[in-house]
Symmetry: C2
Subunit: 512 residues, 2 copies
């Protein structure tokens, strides 16, 4: 027998003819109303924290080429020998817990789009950092400024992403020396959602912050977070001066850094997931604590990025069960630490928006959600282990993020939700399609997935038998064609353009 009654009903009844709401924009401030998943018990969590403390105390972390960071650690009571810093037990955790905000606002150019990061709040941000882009028509190619701007526009148009992201793709057609200026300008001009600035070297971090000051005002920026910088640790156990320089620049300006160990188990860390988690905890805690040494109370996010490895080739793999489990434990550790958490996103090793990409991305995103992540980078577009930003993948992922909006709301249990009146009205053996309870709840009952094809096979075949990737390609073009830039104060726009032009004139052109 089974569920073959799941056949399509022709016409769909009265409720079936209800139109989709024209504008389904979600609020910028998203609040998780469901519990986190608690994978590991107290004993295991304490063992991992102890291992992290042991790593910090016995082995330590190198701060390479950054005298100021070494000075800050020495003054804080760490044991500094050359560039190696070792940390007495409890020092790092104590620094973090003394001043790190549990949640903070990141202000958007449009105040209605300001987000809260930390606590029970969730921010979804596009993928970050890929040199290539891909679409069905053009295949895989190097990213350009035009691609970058297109993705800023797509993220702006998405009702489900509440963040504009950072280096959504690398615009490799423009010089690396001034690329950050064009990227920050694009975020400020083509979107009004909160965004991320450059971190590649401290001067570019400073430029990003300077542009934010032009948009938000100098005093406002000193007192409020308006920009994020994503800082990767050089795992295992190394911070280089480019990264700590950018971190210090952001923290000194009271802007947020996301501190992210990127550990491919078996390469940049031990091959056992639990060991990689202990390392990630040690590395991220030190970066988070450094922001607090620079400026106590500066906003900061505890980040994590775990990858597993293919046994066949040694290549990194994504969306696999080991990082999924890892995220769940990292979520628990971050809550014990009391810091806002960045996790995974829609990760995959696949080259195209196929079943592999969706399977890996779904498990990865679901784990991020249930693990209590506050800032989900790479929520949309990621392909090929982060080497490629996919247009179709972006559209499909955004729809999936919309599902996560519903998931995080949980289920109501009031009288209307329990629907006893509906049973009284309908009785036994009859359908609920036209009953009063259905009509009054229909429009809000279910997530209306934009990219899911729920038509009959015959309807789907008549429409061209399109895969979801092909449908996403079409939808992507529609969104870009309908895009309208948000308004901007002409004086601010002029000031930003002048700044970009002046810095481009000052900076020597460099391509790598």
């Amino acid at each position: 027998m089974g569920e073959t009654r799941a056949r399509r009903r022709e016409g769909g009844g009265r409720a079936g003819r209800a139109a989709r709401p024209a504008d389904v924009a979600a609020p910028a401030i998203l609040t998780r109303q469901i519990p986190t998943y608690e994978l590991m018990g107290e004993e295991g969590l304490a063992a991992i924290e102890d291992a992290a403390d042991q790593i910090l105390q016995e082995i330590g972390i190198d701060f390479r080429g950054d005298e100021e960071a070494l000075r800050l650690w020495r003054e804080a009571g760490a044991d500094v020998q050359g560039e190696r810093v070792r940390f007495p037990r409890g020092l790092v955790r104590g620094i973090i817990q003394a001043s790190t905000p549990r949640q903070f606002k990141q202000h958007a150019r449009n105040p209605e789009r300001t987000v809260i990061i930390g606590g029970d709040h969730v921010v979804f941000s596009p993928a970050y950092g890929s040199p290539f882009v891909r679409d069905l028509d053009g295949g895989r190619r190097y990213g350009t400024l035009e691609d970058f701007e297109a993705f800023v526009k797509l993220a702006y148009a998405s009702p489900w992403l509440n963040h504009s992201g950072g280096t959504i793709c690398e615009p490799v057609d423009i010089p690396v020396s001034t690329r950050h200026l064009d990227m920050v300008y694009a975020h400020l001009r083509y979107s009004d959602k909160p965004f991320m600035g450059s971190v590649t070297i401290p001067e570019r971090a400073a430029d990003s912050i300077a542009m934010a000051k032009l948009a938000f005002g100098e005093d406002f920026v000193d007192q409020n977070c308006v920009i994020l910088g994503n800082i990767n640790v050089n795992s295992p156990l190394v911070y280089d001066s480019a990264m700590t320089g950018a971190l210090r620049a952001y923290a000194a300006a009271n802007q947020c850094t996301v501190v992210v160990p990127f550990i491919l188990g078996g390469a940049m860390g031990p091959v056992t997931t639990t060991g990689a988690i202990a390392q990630a905890l040690a590395e991220a805690m030190v970066g988070v604590a450094l922001t607090q040494l620079v400026r106590p109370g500066a906003p900061v996010i505890f980040g994590n990025f775990l990858s597993s490895m293919s046994l066949k080739s040694g290549a990194p793999t994504f969306g696999m069960p080991e990082p999924t489990l890892g995220y769940m434990v990292v979520g628990q550790l971050a809550r014990r630490l009391g810091a806002p958490l960045r996790l995974g996103g829609s990760l995959t090793a696949s080259k195209v928006a196929d079943a592999q990409s969706a399977q890996e991305s779904s498990d990865s995103l679901m784990a991020s959600m249930l693990s209590g992540a506050n800032f989900i980078l790479h929520a949309a577009g990621w392909l090929e282990g982060g080497l490629t930003m996919g247009y179709e993948k972006f559209i499909i992922d955004c729809d999936h993020v919309g599902m996560m909006h519903v998931l995080m709301k949980g289920l109501a249990t009031d009288d209307n939700a329990l629907a006893l009146d509906a049973f009284r009205e309908v009785g036994v053996g009859k359908h609920f399609l036209g009953c009063a309870h259905t009509l009054s709840n229909y429009r809000t009952a279910f997530y209306d997935a934009e990219m899911a094809d729920n038509d009959s096979f015959e309807q789907w075949a008549e429409a061209g038998s399109l895969s979801s990737e092909a449908r996403a390609a079409r939808r992507c073009k529609e969104i870009l064609a309908a895009y309208e830039a948000p308004p901007i104060d002409p004086a601010v726009d002029e000031a930003l353009r002048e700044f970009v032009a002046r810095r481009k004139a000052d900076l020597p052109e460099a391509w790598y």
Copy 2:
């Protein structure tokens, strides 16, 4: 910056050259070692249980055309008026809790493949009940006995499915009147994993059980569960005689029934998910209790199948956030009841094994896992809302089920897992590829996903730029070509063939 360091390493180092284990067959008895996810608090759960009690007491359930079921309910103390049965508060739950086994063995023809259903154990079974099949070469077409046998072989060959399923697809090229005989024979002949029998009418249930007795011995079958029957409720609030007749036949023979309300919210139940859950609880409890009235202690599974609805067309949708949340609550309710639980599986409305199919299936399967499901039907192959069984989808889903095997093991926190010795060996800023800890843990560190392509873009392009669907099509043919039937006692095979031939001669040929 971001995670673009996720570039492929050429060669893969020493660890990268380790071969994949030739045989990765998992044990038949799978035990969940991770906690369940507790979505809803006590108050909400109690409100849903109260609503279910209210439905049972005030509105009641029809048992249509089954005098024996009505007699059993009357004797148990229910209020029976014509075919309508109303249940005093606590009656149904009390019957269930008095005798329902919390877990039981379902014996396989090969004792090494016997499974445990209930408690902390998990069984993965193929999809069930679709009239159509699909592969990349032939597209979508009606299923045949050849297709049915092929899927039995594929399920047998999978190291991750520990169950052979039931009506994996409908073999519509053979008469419906005798189809069940060929299906049960195929499960017994082409696999040695546990399987499901026919439920469409009570006589076919009896035939299925008779064939099981030929394979296992009459006395053994009376004392042990060797066959499952999947019984769908005619939601809302109706059991028909075909279903309750089959249910009574299985229970009387001490065989297991899976009692499954199939509720498309807004059609066969209220449009609010919480109301549909209350209905599902009421309906399933009554069916489970009926098995215990027939034969106290008979094995039975509390089943659930929730679907949401497209706001555009009224069509059923799958893998959406509302059923995901629903599964989580149903898991909590089943644990409070103390009955083994069947949930979802890899559900999707997609017509092909594309990104939509994988996204919907992944969320659905992950929810089933974290909700504590013991028996996961539709774990592999489901397409098009259950109308189609897909060859490529089956292969991709099986690989995903393998990931769930890893997930349910959780993470170790012993000294080897914490890897402090590895940090001592490797130190700061060096890679872990060749260290002793990596070499000794490498082969068991990560799930080796068969269908995930983790090659470089260039390698993938050279190999034909195949999507995961295309790779699955190729892999499917390889598996079927390498298939070897498990051994069977020739006397048992002969007895089964004789039974099938005799019943075919007795039964009038019918095609619908």
